[in-house]
């Protein structure tokens, strides 16, 4: 009897940026439903790793398997098709567009289409987005509200709702609490903890070790393009991680 394959399995991943060895042979297994905190100093390679997983950058070597199958993640779209969604610190929402339109951006439900271009089903967009937002415990009065009118924390809530709506298996959160107030930060961390109860695998990238300790079960530390520490949060301490990175 064998264990179920990890949802994401990375072997020997390499990435160079004009002479800089940003990823130097990363090996990492992520089990389904785990919440992982990815930490490291600036330039440690954590952003690069995330960019590779979310299809923004192509790796120069190594292998990625999703649920045991080797995959090539060539674009953000192909990452999304594999069920990997990313919430960026700049939150990838268009300020001058409504919540409903942002939720479905690039994946609009169409009434009919010719060659991929067609008329949007705006009713479905409004109804489903209202539901998706309520599902992550975010309370907005109307899906027609412009993103520009929301607070930073509410915006991250919308981004997380979007990822959840599209049934992401793996949700990557890239510094989701940067530039947020203390209250907003705790709200976003609340969203993240809520995901654990819904069986979503989460990878939280953060500078703030305290956030990682309160929201994640496992912590992976990177330095100089390598994984230098990989433990359960209950088996390590902030001091040990700081020493490692």
């Amino acid at each position: 009897m064998s264990l179920p394959a990890p949802i994401i399995s990375i072997r020997g991943l390499h990435k160079w940026y004009s002479g800089v060895h940003a990823l130097n042979g990363i090996d990492l297994d992520i089990e389904s439903g785990q919440s992982i905190g990815l930490v490291g100093d600036n330039g440690a390679g954590k952003s690069t790793l995330i960019k590779v997983l979310s299809g923004v950058e192509l790796p120069d070597g190594g292998e990625i398997r999703v649920e045991g199958r080797p995959v090539a993640i060539r674009s953000p779209k192909s990452a999304m098709r594999l069920g990997i969604e990313t919430v960026y610190q700049y939150n990838s929402l268009v300020p001058n567009m409504s919540v409903a339109r942002n939720l479905f951006i690039g994946r609009e439900p169409l009434r009919f289409s010719v060659g991929g271009i067609g008329v949007m089903n705006q009713r479905k967009m409004r109804e489903d987005s209202a539901q998706a937002i309520a599902d992550v415990d975010l309370h907005l009065r109307s899906p027609d509200t412009l993103i520009a009118e929301l607070s930073g924390g509410q915006r991250q809530g919308v981004a997380i709702a979007r990822a959840m709506y599209f049934k992401s298996k793996v949700l990557i959160l890239d510094e989701p609490t940067n530039h947020l107030s203390v209250r907003e930060t705790s709200k976003v961390l609340g969203f993240v903890r809520g995901l654990a109860t819904q069986d979503v695998t989460t990878i939280l990238i953060s500078h703030n070790l305290h956030h990682v300790f309160i929201s994640c079960e496992r912590v992976v530390a990177m330095a100089r393009g390598k994984v230098v520490l990989d433990k359960k949060v209950t088996e390590t301490s902030i001091d040990e991680i700081v020493d490692a990175i």
Partner: protein, 325 residues
């Protein structure tokens, strides 16, 4: 109530409509009733499709986050090449198709150079403005060639329809307004255009083909400019090589007056049409009110600045009106 006010203030094109009504009333009084006479309305509506079509293409490109200064030159080169092809004995429809294809190629080049070399479209299309104008003049030899009017199906372009109030071009223009508005507001392509201009990083990370979207908008803008120029030449029946000079400035002014933001992502087709109509009304109204026509540019300039200042004030005010989100 507060909510309704907020929604109103967030739609700059509604402010344009209001201004339009005020101006029309003003000119109607100043011109002692000539402004809203059938004869004069016909004149204004005859010109509107030409400037209006250019402004629509320009506005869509601006919403997408790019810019096209070459529209005035493209406006001239399509009718010029059609006129020359007709003289060379090519039948009308093939010549017309080649003209459109040429505009599409110019738009394609604008996009290719801008995106491939990652330079501002302001520069690419400023260059294209000179290059295309020069080509037009060289092609014509500096003199307007004769337009073989017997080969052109005039009724389809500038013939009067509907009891003589509209030209055929106006019907085409209304269809264009409806189509372009629909594309921008209810199709996913319109969503992509707005997202690309509104926040390109977000659009790209959500898998929108931003490069293809920009290519499309550049090409739509050039094709509409060429078609508009062709209609104007068919109306005037003479392809002047300097046709459409400084038209790009009117297209910018019209778009901006209608609430399209220079920074991209904001604006509507309807707003751009209102902007273009405002310019036509001012142009025409000044003449009818016996005000020295040299004040036209003064009025357009002042209105453009006023519109941008006013729109950003409206937007700030709207944002300050707190309704629960």
């Amino acid at each position: 109530m507060k909510r309704a006010l907020k929604i109103y203030l967030e739609k700059p094109e509604l402010a344009g409509v209001l201004l339009l009504i005020v101006l029309m009333a003003f000119f109607e009084v100043r011109s002692h009733g000539v402004f809203l006479s059938l004869q004069n309305i016909r004149g204004v509506l005859g010109l509107l499709p030409e400037v209006g079509a250019v402004t629509i293409g320009f506005a869509m490109l601006m919403i997408c986050g790019e810019f096209d200064l070459s529209v005035g030159s493209v406006f001239a080169i399509m009718p010029m090449s059609i006129a020359l092809m007709l003289i060379a004995g090519i039948p009308f429809w093939p010549a017309f198709a080649v003209g459109i294809a040429m505009c599409a190629v110019i738009g394609f080049l604008n996009a290719l150079i801008t995106l491939r070399f990652d330079i501002p479209s302001f520069i690419t299309t400023l260059g294209m403005l000179f290059v295309v104008r020069s080509l037009t003049i060289v092609m014509s030899g500096g003199f307007p060639p004769l337009l073989a009017t017997d080969k052109v199906p005039m009724a389809l372009f500038t013939g009067f329809v509907g009891g003589g109030l509209f030209r055929a071009s106006f019907i085409w223009f209304v269809a264009l307004v409806v189509l372009a508005s629909a594309i921008m507001s209810i199709t996913n392509f319109g969503n992509w255009i707005r997202a690309t201009g509104g926040f390109i990083e977000a659009a790209r990370s959500m898998g929108i083909p931003v490069v293809r979207v920009k290519f499309s908008c550049f090409m739509i803008c050039s094709i509409l400019a060429g078609l508009a120029g062709t209609v104007q030449v068919f109306r005037l029946q003479s392809p002047f090589p300097n046709l459409g000079e400084s038209l790009e400035l009117q297209a910018i002014a019209g778009s901006v007056i209608g609430g399209v933001a220079l920074t991209g992502g904001v604006g509507t087709v309807f707003g751009a049409v209102i902007g273009a109509l405002l310019i036509r009304v001012i142009d025409n109204g000044l003449v009818l009110s016996r005000i020295d026509a040299n004040w036209f540019k003064f009025a357009i300039g002042a209105l453009t600045v006023f519109a941008v200042v006013g729109n950003s004030w409206l937007r700030r005010t709207a944002r300050r009106i707190k309704v629960e989100v």
